[in-house]
């Protein structure tokens, strides 16, 4: 009875709530990066709608690049304006955080996407029969593979320029994802960047069946995982009565001003908190491709158009880990002793499974997919360090890793034969003889993956392991070292294949790319070496960006 009464009182109380809702106050300047990107995306749609097909490609390319560059400039401006450090705070009524990690990650994402756009726009790889240069996307996504419609589209020289707005939307979501300061924003951002990716995956020009299959898998599993995440959000909301990070953190930390009976009732029930936390974690782990939520990764990476794969592999990881960091460091620090062991486990299995399964891979893209899983494990090792060092090391690793990945996948786009990209490893035999330069660059990326000194991979690995060791995660370091040893094996295998085995007669040809892809690869190599030889400046950046706002 008393309970019912309280419920009734709640009802009446919330009845006259509406006029109490304050008008939201949005700091547009501080959200400008996201706004610019999303705005450009909308523009892009309009371009698709109104510009003649011929002129769409250049316009879209220009628009996208400008937008991303501008957004990056905005990020830099904000950082310069001290929002990364002193003036860091939660903007948009606590929905979006503007602080060091957010800005650093947004900057990284924007740069990565900018480079990715180059590979998106590459049109010289497929010397098309009908004379018109084409990129790696389907002439007409909706057309049935090999069907009449597609042939017409190909003959007409259609290209799916929608990929650019799609990319921009995805980027927009990714920008918000690591900055999201409440669970709702987190969820929305997740969907905003996932949905365009699902579509992009389906748009390969060659091997369309694989492409579509990968899209379906990605979509279903993605939706599945986001449902889990959402349920987790629900439980956390139920536990804390709010979805803002700070609010939940306060409740978890047990420092709330007024504790009404209901809240007391729910907060008493840790199950809500723990299960909710676990489910949200799972949603994020899925995005970063950690074991056992990794299984979509190889299939999707292999099926999706390679530029998209590169973009996903690089940017999604950055965004996902950003969100993960924020969640663990802002929302759940009170529960450190609960989630740390769990994350330990996840990190260990991720490193080992990724490395071990990669050993027997026969497809370059799958190989890279598994290696990305292993790397997710390494990064997790830095995540569980639970120290500012840990954060900055993870940030650095993400920056280093994303460019290496992008570069590697860009190289993959160049090695082609009649069936499009020749991704089967056996085709790569003797590549070093055919075109030493390409092989050499790819070797550089592989060495970076393997964490050989003087490459960014080593600096990053050292940073996270160091943080982990200082965070008292020595065993993790050992496992990490072991799995790096295993990983080294298959990277080396590819190098052997490229340089020490005789080239086949029917081997693939290496396409001579336009400046776009070349510059993408060049940037990748440059970043790899610079971060390997003189990482101090970037370590400083990451170090300054190591503190989350609450």
């Amino acid at each position: 009875m008393s309970h019912a009464a309280s419920v009734h009182s709640l009802w009446t109380m919330s009845a006259d709530a509406p006029q109490k809702i304050p008008a939201p106050h949005i700091e547009y300047a501080q959200l400008s990066p996201t706004l610019i990107v999303l705005g450009a995306a909308v523009l892009g749609i309009l371009v698709e709608a109104f510009l003649p097909r011929r002129s769409r490609h250049p316009v879209q390319l220009l628009l996208t690049c400008v937008a991303l560059a501008a957004a990056f400039a905005a990020v830099v401006a904000l950082a310069a304006g001290g929002y990364g450090t002193g003036k860091a705070h939660a903007a948009a009524m606590g929905a979006v955080a503007v602080d060091g990690p957010a800005l650093f990650l947004q900057g990284t994402i924007l740069l990565v996407s900018l480079v990715a756009v180059f590979t998106f726009a590459e049109r010289r790889l497929d010397p098309a029969a009908h004379g018109r240069p084409v990129d790696s996307f389907a002439a007409q996504g909706a057309a049935v593979p090999g069907g009449r419609a597609e042939q017409d589209a190909v003959r007409a020289g259609f290209t799916t320029t929608e990929v650019f707005p799609l990319l921009l939307f995805a980027v927009g979501g990714m920008l918000v994802f690591p900055a999201a300061d409440d669970l709702l924003t987190l969820f929305v951002a997740l969907e905003v960047f996932s949905l365009p990716l699902y579509v992009l995956c389906a748009l390969a020009r060659r091997k369309r069946l694989l492409s579509q299959e990968s899209a379906v898998k990605y979509f279903l599993l993605g939706a599945f995982s986001s449902a889990f995440l959402l349920f987790g959000v629900a439980l956390l909301y139920g536990y804390a009565g709010t979805v803002t990070y700070s609010g939940i953190a306060d409740v978890v930390g047990g420092n709330v001003r007024m504790l009404d009976p209901v809240l007391a009732g729910t907060t008493g029930n840790d199950a809500l908190l723990l299960i909710g936390g676990a489910l949200v974690l799972m949603g994020l782990l899925f995005k970063v491709g950690a074991v056992p939520f990794h299984m979509w990764t190889p299939d999707v990476y292999q099926g999706a158009p390679t530029p998209v794969t590169g973009f996903m592999a690089a940017a999604t990881k950055v965004a996902g880990f950003g969100a993960l960091l924020r969640l663990l460091y802002v929302v759940l620090p009170g529960l450190r002793w609960d989630w740390r062991p769990v994350m330990w486990g996840v990190a260990i299995v991720t490193m080992l499974v990724g490395a071990i399964v990669a050993v027997t891979q026969t497809d370059v893209k799958r190989l890279l997919a598994y290696s990305s899983i292993a790397h997710a494990g390494f990064i997790l090792a830095g995540v569980v360090a639970t120290s500012p060092d840990g954060v900055s090391s993870v940030l650095f690793y993400l920056g280093a890793y994303s460019f290496v990945t992008l570069g590697a996948f860009s190289v993959v786009t160049l090695v082609r034969d009649a069936g499009g990209e020749a991704t089967h490893l056996s085709k790569w035999a003797g590549l070093g003889r055919r075109s030493p330069l390409t092989a050499a660059t790819f070797a550089v990326f592989l060495l970076a993956f393997a964490g050989i000194p003087l490459t960014s991979g080593f600096a990053g690995k050292f940073a996270v392991f160091k943080a982990a060791a200082q965070g008292g995660a020595g065993p993790l370091v050992i496992v990490g070292v072991v799995s790096s040893a295993i990983a080294a094996f298959f990277y080396v295998r590819v190098i052997v294949l490229m340089f020490f085995s005789e080239p086949k007669e029917d081997g693939p040809t290496v396409a001579v790319p336009s400046p776009l892809t070349s510059s993408a690869i060049a940037i990748g190599v440059a970043v790899t070496l610079v971060l390997g030889v003189a990482p101090q400046y970037f370590l400083d950046l990451a170090g300054q960006a190591g503190v989350f706002v609450r």
Binding site: A17, F187, E191, L195, E213, A234, G238, V262, D299
Partner: protein, 99 residues
């Protein structure tokens, strides 16, 4: 009636949805199961909103619906394409990518 029961219902629906995803072959059905899971979440949200007596939960529920709608658009589009190229919507047929 005790609102907590709604939570149990939500959990139940969520589990049913999840089970559906695991069991059913047809992509459309699987997708519907996912939708079911999302709606289970919605139910949980509103229940908690009710419990806590603030509107956040209810607002989130609206957001969720919108997101779900968006998912439907993209999802159905993808599923339809693959259906047209494969003449089957069974996810088990789509097994080219493996190992």
């Amino acid at each position: 009636m005790n609102p907590v029961n709604y939570l149990y219902l939500a959990a139940l629906l969520f589990t049913i949805g999840a089970a559906g995803v695991l069991i059913r072959r047809n992509a459309i059905v699987i997708f519907m199961c996912v939708e079911l899971m999302l709606n289970a979440c919605n139910l949980a949200f509103v229940t908690f909103a009710r419990l806590h007596g603030n509107l956040d939960g209810q607002i989130i529920a609206f957001f969720t619906m919108v997101v779900a709608a968006a998912e439907v658009v993209v999802g159905l589009a993808i599923i339809v394409t693959i259906f047209r190229s494969r003449h089957s919507a069974s996810v088990d047929d789509a097994g080219l990518l493996k190992l």
